[in-house]
């Protein structure tokens, strides 16, 4: 298998910024269609493969949480189309010329698609010292990758929406001073229930100050539930996307279970943010295939639509792939996930000595903690 983890193949112009590589699958039809939207077979198959990989790591993760290899699981089975289509269109890199990502806790697919190896997911899940995101401190899916502008995910619902204007402000200024680096945007993701927190409104407001509009792509993954609470019981039956209206912000609601629609919905919204340097609110309707988290059992919910199964059928029906190739891809993805877990479980755990590490950055102006936190001031 090509090392697609580190460097996913290039797709259309949205991806031109990455090195080119051709897709391994011969394309029978020229495009996959959904309503008026189409996706080239090349892109469609890449999306499909990344969706499969995402599903594989999620399912393996759930298994880990049940087997005792890990403890708590939360993630995004059912959101693969959204995660993958977003991950493929990110302007990846470090600093304000590139996109900043303020993510939710169901976004493994974004990271895998951007090139994060699966083991960087399982290390966090298994609470290893090698966990690059949190050194075994945080829940799974709480990523942090400075090189790619992935801001540390925190469990506190919606706070990422209050931070997003800050990164976007720096990006907008950076682009004004450096016109060739005027494409970076801030991408912020959260669930629909979380939009009831004031921070969601803060983001709407702070990104639309007159003359100071900010390039923030606000993404709401609407799975219609906050844990057990049905959205329809706690929120007026209008789309979350309507929240953009009082701010004159552009908005749209798309079917996040349809990868073709999702690809283009994200593309339209992103293009607008990148070029206009203004915000966009995009709501994607998604499924929650394994409930909220391992705390609610993480059993598969067969009543929810499965974007992956549907897309597989669609690609087969269109002659873009055959069942043998699908099986091979699935096996590959599962094997990749298994290898990550095996490797992970060999790795060291944090120790007693690590409790305080990384509390403070080195400081030349602090007489007590010049290097890092070392216990109470002057403690022996």
């Amino acid at each position: 298998m090509p090392d697609a983890n580190e460097d996913p193949p290039d797709i259309e112009d949205a991806l031109l910024r990455r090195g080119a590589r051709s897709t391994p699958y011969p394309a029978a039809p020229s495009a996959i269609r959904s309503g008026r939207d189409t996706l080239s077979v090349e892109v469609a198959l890449t999306v499909f493969r990344q969706m499969l990989r995402t599903r594989a790591i999620e399912e393996r993760s759930i298994k880990m949480s049940k087997s005792g290899e890990a403890y708590f699981w939360i993630g995004g089975p059912g959101e693969e189309a959204f995660n993958v289509c977003l991950g493929l269109q990110i302007n990846k890199g470090h600093g304000p010329a590139h996109d900043y990502l303020h993510l939710h806790y169901r976004n493994a697919g974004i990271m895998l698609t951007m090139g994060m190896p699966m083991i960087d997911h399982t290390r966090q899940l298994a609470m290893r010292w090698t966990d690059r995101h949190s050194r075994g401190r945080n829940f799974v899916g709480h990523y942090s990758i400075p090189e790619w502008n992935v801001i540390p995910v925190t469990s506190v619902i919606e706070v990422q929406f209050a931070m997003a204007p800050g990164t976007a402000l720096v990006q907008k200024r950076h682009g004004q001073k450096n016109p060739t680096e005027n494409e970076g945007i801030t991408v912020v993701v959260g669930g629909e229930a979380g939009t009831a927190e004031g921070d969601f409104e803060s983001c709407l407001n702070w990104t639309t100050r007159p003359g100071q509009e900010l390039p923030v792509l606000m993404l709401v993954t609407n799975n219609r539930y906050g844990i057990s609470t049905d959205l329809d019981t706690v929120h007026t039956h209008r789309p979350i996307a309507d929240r953009a209206i009082p701010y004159g912000m552009r908005y749209e609601t798309i079917d996040g279970n349809d990868p073709v629609a999702t690809w283009h919905g994200i593309d339209r919204a992103m293009r607008y943010c990148r070029r206009e340097r203004k915000p966009f609110l995009l709501e994607t309707m998604v499924s929650r295939l394994h409930g909220h988290s391992s705390s609610s059992g993480a059993q598969r919910n067969w009543n929810e639509a499965d974007s992956l199964a549907a897309f597989e059928q669609k690609l087969i029906d269109a002659g873009a792939i055959d069942t043998n190739a699908v099986r091979a891809l699935k096996d590959e993805a599962k094997a990749e996930a298994d290898r990550a877990v095996v490797e992970t479980m060999k790795e060291p755990e944090p120790t007693r000595e690590d409790v305080y590490a990384f509390t403070y950055a080195e400081s030349a102006v602090d007489t007590i903690y010049p290097k890092d936190f070392t216990g109470l001031p002057g403690a022996r």
Binding site: F72, R128, R137, S155, A196, E197, G198, T229, T233, V355
Partner: protein, 352 residues
């Protein structure tokens, strides 16, 4: 034999039936879930709110202003920090309005570490809460007290915060709540919602009786002469266990005080015990800088400095930004049984 979650649920039922509770609400508090720890299953007045802690506390205040009797939940105390301003207001409005309005409000929230909850399901809240004048703050360490303190909280016409030690919510009490069936399985069949299909499920409440643990009354759970241990909530059973071990193995006995009420606290019981033993250890799991245990230590020093035989001590959580998910973080951040045993031993054996 109820566990603490069942005890809370029964107290709330008693509150609905006999004490005028009008609303039990919060995130996932109503059907179908009945609370992330099942503490609100089957309650007549339970309902689900938007995911908005400010709305929860604000609405609770409004209900209280208009004569209702609200009990609301912050799903984890870790998520109370965006609404501390409203906690403050709930606590100061009576004073600020010259006694114009009462604020009969109960907020309950799971507290502390011990469920492998990582950063945001491990916070302790009692030190923050103790800084909210106008509030009363209680924390049970067992199911019977949870029942009794919850009834007191409901009856008290002031805002009361009920902190429930997360790690003890599933711990069964050895004692029965008045009216509770003696058989734990029977209780479960009566009041635990079925795990899967809950459509049409109704609880079958036992005929519960009043049992009120008064606010401000601690309990002396062990008696001894070699020192005084003051604790509450999750570490309390560990303190009792450590005291038992030292008593059995080394004939060193201790007064172990379960404070139960954080504010106001039972100064009388603390004071009497300190006078008797001259040795004090205060144990809790909250972070150690500006910790409520330090307030207790200050009171002890204020009033009993010259009665102390040896240095009074605290054993508290480390000043860390969070409790890490890996257990090596947690066991080295919050006091464990071994730490308590060692601290007790040192306290008892230090030469006066």
């Amino acid at each position: 034999m109820a566990n603490m979650a069942q005890a809370v649920r029964m107290a709330l039922h008693f509150g609905e039936k006999h004490l005028g509770v009008t609303d039990v609400f919060g995130e996932d508090v109503g059907p179908p879930l009945g609370g992330v720890f099942t503490a609100t299953q089957g309650l007549r007045t339970a309902w689900n709110t938007p995911l908005d802690e400010r709305g929860i506390i604000g609405t609770a205040m409004g209900i209280a202003y208009a004569g209702g009797r609200p009990v609301c939940e912050i799903q984890f105390c870790d998520y109370a920090f965006n609404v501390l301003d409203m906690f403050k207001i709930a606590g100061n409005q009576r004073w600020a309005s010259g006694g114009g309005y009462d604020m009969p409000l109960v907020v309950m929230t799971p507290n502390g570490a011990g469920i492998r909850g990582s950063l945001y399901h491990s916070h302790s809240f009692e030190s923050w809460a103790s800084r909210l004048p106008g509030w009363k703050v209680v924390m049970p360490s067992n199911a019977l007290d949870a029942y009794g303190l919850m009834l007191a909280a409901i009856k008290d016409p002031n805002p009361v915060l009920v902190l429930l030690p997360k790690a003890l919510l599933r711990a069964k009490d050895t004692r029965l709540i008045p009216g509770e069936p003696a058989d734990a399985d029977e209780l479960s069949r009566m009041i635990d919602a079925p795990v899967n299909d809950r459509v049409g499920w109704e609880p079958n409440w036992p005929n519960l009786e009043d049992h009120t643990v008064k606010i401000g009354s601690a309990e002396l759970v062990r008696e001894g002469t070699f020192g005084t241990v003051i604790s509450y909530g999750r570490p309390l059973p560990l303190c009792a266990q450590a005291a038992d071990e030292l008593a059995a193995q080394h004939y060193r006995t201790f007064d172990v005080i379960d404070l139960r009420s954080i504010f106001p606290y039972d100064w009388g019981m603390i004071s009497r015990s300190v006078l008797k033993t001259g040795r004090v250890l205060i144990v809790n799991e909250d972070t150690e800088v500006t910790n409520f245990g330090e307030h207790l230590l200050r009171r002890v020093v204020d009033e009993h400095f010259y009665d102390l035989s040896v240095r009074p001590r605290t054993l508290m959580g480390k000043h860390v930004p969070g409790i890490g998910m890996n257990q090596n973080y947690e066991v080295n951040s919050v006091p464990q049984l071994g730490d308590i045993r060692t601290a007790l031993w040192d306290l008892a054996t230090e030469a006066a």
